[in-house]
């Protein structure tokens, strides 16, 4: 058997990755028969998940800088009661800065909805949709006390090493439904604290990395700020160029013989041509009704910018983009309240409360909520102990995130911290647990989603991760 010369690796994902990596492309395609013919040579082609998914796409709302859990989603009456008293147990081994005594929350908490979940007055609008939201109070970010490693850990699973991001793994596992748009889009990410590594693809093919629209340095652009999407020449001219090009490329293909890469490249020019229209279209918010714009708080005021980003996220979700990250990020929007906690969190919360509630409402009324997983996350919480008189330090040891939509139970709380919010007391959810759960909702088994690199099968969750089944609807 000639095939025994070099035993082919018929594991499907591996085979696809070989195609993605481009070596022996034709050969591999031939080996794989029909399945690969369906998959084509494009690494972005839609792929079947491991099991029936609950969510088809993810909108990850990332609040950069570390939003305080005890002031938002994790009410701690005991903390308020003992305001100003020393922390009655050992503080963590790993802390970023020196903290003092316990600091009660300056904000009141109220019950909302039928579930009666209590969240702080910073987020009244999120409160109004709380019955659709699962509040996870027991996230642990390990010992990553600095922004960079903590951001990387949240986004890629590892705080130090270069690893593919959650979005990249998602695309690698599922491909993309809309070939005229990037499959992973990140809005206004920070270029700091890991920068592009937070949405990078590391050793996975570059096509899995996130496409960034704008960055944290400037206001969210009002036009489609995708690189190279504005035609360099009139469309009619481009059309003639592409026709001339296609003829030449087809002739060359006859000369070289069938080659999947060359064929893919002929198609890629046509796709690119279409993307020039498709991308500006999806970014054109003028197509939205006044009522919708108002719902998100678009049209000036503190909610305008994040409102536009959240609305954009909905439009991208609608258009089949697989993974959308909406960043509220450094330096323009930053939750890092070492001092001035009151002002910082009030101002930031004002900016995002309405847009986030609107996103959930809007997804629901358009029938997108059930298969869109919305996650609201941050790289760490903030210390229950004070830094200065009106500040809190970084706190990865216990903090909160929200999850909603695609297969998540609404109106529930999961996990608990101790009476001050210092450590997780019940049902800890580590970052790998969170990742495993997100992948699970997407129909991917985090233990089976692997990529062979440098002699080893890598996974997003490395050797950890357990799906948090209690929060699944």
């Amino acid at each position: 058997m000639p095939a025994n010369l070099f035993p082919p690796l018929l594991h499907r994902r591996r085979a696809l990755s070989r195609i993605a990596c481009g070596f022996g492309a034709t050969a591999a395609a031939a080996m794989l028969g029909e399945e690969s013919a369906a998959a084509g040579v494009d690494p972005m082609a839609p792929k079947r998940p491991h099991f029936v998914p609950r969510a088809k796409r993810v909108i990850f709302l990332f609040l950069h800088g570390g939003i305080s859990h005890v002031d938002t989603f994790d009410e701690k009456p005991e903390l308020n009661k003992r305001n100003g008293q020393p922390v009655p147990f050992k503080k963590p081994d790993f802390e970023f800065a020196v903290t003092g005594n316990l600091l009660g929350s300056p904000w009141k908490f109220h019950s909302h909805g039928q579930s009666g979940l209590r969240i702080s007055e910073l987020f009244p609008r999120i409160g109004s949709v709380i019955d659709d939201v699962c509040v996870v109070n027991s996230i642990s970010g390990g010992n990553e006390v600095s922004h960079g490693p903590a951001c990387l850990r949240l986004n890629t699973g590892d705080g130090v090493l270069n690893r593919p991001s959650l979005g990249a793994w998602t695309l690698y596992g599922l491909g993309s439904d809309n070939r005229d748009l990037p499959g992973f889009i990140t809005l206004t990410p920070s270029i700091y604290h890991g920068g592009t590594q937070n949405f990078g693809s590391a050793f996975l093919a570059a096509s899995f990395q996130g496409t960034s629209i704008g960055d944290g340095n400037a206001e969210f652009p009002r036009t489609a700020a995708v690189s190279n999407v504005v035609p360099g020449r009139p469309r009619a001219v481009q059309r003639r160029q592409l026709d001339l090009l296609a003829t030449a490329n087809r002739e060359y293909l006859v000369e070289t013989g069938a080659d999947a890469r060359l064929e893919a490249r002929i198609r890629a020019f046509e796709t690119a041509f279409r993307m020039q229209t498709a991308i500006p279209e999806v970014f054109d918010l003028s197509q939205e009704s006044k009522e919708t714009l108002a719902l998100y708080g678009i049209g000036g005021g503190p909610t305008d910018e994040y409102g536009r980003e959240c609305l954009m996220a909905r439009r991208l979700a609608e258009s089949g983009v697989r993974f959308i990250q909406v960043n509220h990020s450094y330096p323009r929007n930053y939750w890092d309240a070492h001092g001035g906690l009151r002002a910082n969190h009030s101002k930031n919360a004002m900016k995002i409360d309405q847009p986030i509630a609107a996103l959930i409402t809007d997804l629901k009324r358009r029938g997108l909520f059930d298969d869109t997983l919305v996650v609201l996350g941050t790289e760490f919480g903030r210390t229950p102990a004070a830094q200065g008189s009106d500040g809190r330090d970084h706190h990865p040891h216990a903090f909160s995130m929200l999850m909603a939509g695609g297969g998540v139970r609404g109106g529930m709380k999961y996990g608990e911290t101790d009476e001050f919010g210092y450590y997780v007391a019940k049902n800890m959810v580590s970052i790998p647990d969170l990742h495993a759960t997100i992948l699970h909702l997407l129909g991917l088994d985090h233990q089976r989603l692997t990529f062979r690199h440098a002699g080893r099968d890598f996974r997003l969750t490395d050797v950890e991760g357990e799906v948090v089944r209690e929060i699944l609807a």
Binding site: S146, A206, Q241, A268, A272, Y422, V424, G455
Partner: protein, 1051 residues
Amino acid sequence: MVSPTATIATAVLSGVLACSAGGSAVSAADRKPDVRKVDAKKIEFFESKIRPLLLARCGTCHGAKKQERGLRVDQRQRLFRGGESGKAIEHGKPGASLLLKRVTARGDEQMPPKTRLKDSEIAALRQWVADGAVWPVATGAESSRGDDVDGVDEVIAPNAPELAKSLKLWLRADTLQVADGGEVVAWPDSSGRGHDLTITRGVRKAGTGTAPQLVKKSKVNGGPAVRFTHGNGLAASPDRSLGLTGDADFTVVLVGQYVHDTSRTYESILMVGNPGPARNPEKPLSILIELETGPKQLDLAGGFSHDASMGPGSAQVLYDQPNILIITRKKGPWTPGARFWLNGESSQQVWGRDPVGTSVVPDVQMRPEHGVALGSPQQWAAGFQGDLAEVIVFDRVLTDRQRRGLEAELAVRHGVEIPRMYLASTREFTDKEKNYWAFRPVKSPAIPKVADADRVVSPIDPFVQSRLKAVGLEPSPRADRLTLIRRVTFDLTGLPPTPKQIDAFLADGRSDVEALGVVVDGLLASPRYGERWARHWLDVVRYAESTANDGNAVMRYAWRYRDYVIKSLNTDKPYSEFVIEQLAGDLLPGKTGQARVDAVVATGLLMLGPKALAETDKEQSRLDIVADQLDVTGRAFLGLTIGCARCHDHKFDSIPTVDYYSLASIFRSTEVFQDENRNATMFQEWNLEVDGLKPVMVMAPVEYRPVTLRVHRRGDRKNPGVFAPRRFLQVIAGEGHQPLRTRQSGRLELARWIASPENPLTARVLVNRVWQNHFGTGLVATSDNFGNRGELPSHPALLDWLAADFVENGWSIKSLHRRIVVSNTYMQASRGATKSAAAARRVDPDNRLMWTMPLERLDAEALRDAVLAVSGRLDLTPGGSETGEFLYERGQVIDQKRPTFRPNRVRSDDPFYSDSRRRSVFLPVVRNAMPDILALFDAADPNGIVARRNDTTVPSQSLFLLNHPFVLENSRALATRILSSPAADETARIALAYRLAVGRSPRPVEVKRVSEFLAAEVAGETKGTPEEKRLVAWTGFAQTLFCRNEFLYLK
């Protein structure tokens, strides 16, 4: 001694055993019926409360399936013994039991980590342990035979609880707050007992002695020590006795190294009591540790000729290397009670010189003017010369276990080698492991005989052809000359051949082989060669000019390393030297002038990795950098994924975790940051001064001090295992490979080991890399993994022949290129849609047997450079500081006190990238902000090692080629170049465009098609003068040339 608790427990347990066996009452139960009764209750308690609790709350991670950290709670003995963190249960002492500590801890140490035990559960566990942790011994399956938790020397600090009571004096040079070279007028006691030593001022009552000196980089492995010369002396007050009077037990520990000075007969190091000429020969009156310079022996002298000695010659080792010397003495006669331990080994023999026999019991008497003293506290005391890093005195004899633990502590802290400690680090390997193909020595095999001599151009051809023949395949015919010149020019220089070069080659009347040889020589001699091939190497060594992660600080001088690589390739520096310089160029003796600068710059390799500058755990950050250095060393030079062994023995290759830490010890002995405690202060950038040259700023590591790490079990440095002495990979280095003894970091030794012709991997890995870059795939397809998880070589004999030939040719990479390129195999055509190709494809679809030359895409740099070259805008200025200065100038100054620390502010779409006309290798390489123009076409991501680039085809690449200003501008430049050429007519202009872009003349049908396109464009919607319209039309056509598959792919 057996503790009372344990005795009871034993009795209890044997009683239970009897019961559960169901037999009649047996002796133990008979004797203690009451205990047995109580016990039934305890057993009941255990069975109803504790066992279910352990299983339910701990069993998932510490049960039959998983034993996290070696702990297992479903078996009695396994729980009692504990796991890697230590004994889990102290019977009867809940407060001292790790189990209780963990379940009550908060934060990282809390167990179970996710959901805290209920208070009632913790109370139950506490009661159970307090009651003696009764767990009946069962029979059958549960009766335990568990794996041993690996036995490791404990590390016991001088002030550990079990020693603290007897610790009387503890002098540490590393606690002294004195500038380097400054006088040590007082040496404070760290034992907490206030036995501070001073020169004549202060607590002493009398005496003399000048101040010794603090040396920060002393002979004690480069650590801080107090340097004594004759006349220096320090002493403590006699009022606060060490308790070493009369017939005293003691243990004295000295960490230091001494100078052999023959001008004195005796040299006194430490004294307690009265060593002076007390006229009482009956009894030793002091404890005096001294060197006898004549016979070179170390004495424990009791005064007036009472000596216990290590014997003649024993001091030599004290002069030769840093030492941990421990002297113990038991009450009773002087000589038989004394023992010496030098670096963990007992001295062979204790020599006695007591004038009146061995029965003399000492009577140490304190001197009135001072207590314990070092050196020369009295005019008559001889004093000594040498460096003392640490002095410890206990008022009792340490047990063997304690002494060993203390030795381990000191050995690690001072980098002193204690051979015993390393026994556990030595591993034996099976024959199968040792004979793994890539670990076998390289032996040059015979060149196979093949029938068709016409097709043999290079010795590599018979190897390839014999394999093809064996499966019934033939090599492809030779490619035409046009294909060949394009292939070889791009391959060796990363640029297209000019029409002139093409014409010359096509017109060369010599044979293909001869003509090609001439071309190859020319290309290898061109500076463009180094610029091209350096990029391949830079991929492998994760070259970048910023640190990534938090700060992404600019590495201003990284470019020197890049230029070093280019220069090394252009001058054909032997690869062995290239390797050694990159790992240890700073340590190479005999380098002067520019060669010295180059060698130091080369070590920039160790600095180039991503660095977490904001990491609060500084030691962790260093260990992460060491991990990066090890990863690059392993994968770039040896083709091994050593990094896999950081947390556990390598799962696939014979690399035990201890080998990882042995290598890590070598790298940890090197410093990449300027300040031990503040990373963000800056990594090492310093002014290199070399005779005869202007000082040069370099980014290069410096020597730290020899460090011996311990294995970090599960990668956790808070969970130390066996000691990992500095040494190489044991499976390759072979039996008898000894730990390094060098006083340097050991990098030079490691580098020489890697670059040795005997190293089975180095040459194989390099020739394979070169092969990969010529053919697209290596003989070993996984070019950075020659381990079990990598692929086997397609042509093992060829790989070995090339490796052997390479070493024989003086590790010349250029000769290797010639061997490979001027060959029939390389000259094959890329076979397209022919019948024979279809047949071959069925047999060997991946072309691993090389029956054809695969179609190769230009890499990102070659694409950009080719666009610039074809448009006539390429700037060939070589190297230099442009990138570093650009990034530095643009970098953000965030702290005026640290102006050199500058986070990068250049973005991936910076105009610098599209405006620059220089070769791509000279563009800035910023982590997390790679220029679109390169990143889109799969340029190496410098956050990691890239052994082989991805090859993706995605629409964003097409968007770039359609719309990016870089492409538009160069299209216009090409159009201008053609229109301003002397070409006679449109047909000639079209032909020129083809020749420039794809090397060939257009076919008539193509000329016709292009003419039609141009006509349509001129007639189209563009506005302007006819000249402008013409230029726009030609620009449009030129752009399509850059977009063609024929432009991007090479046959």
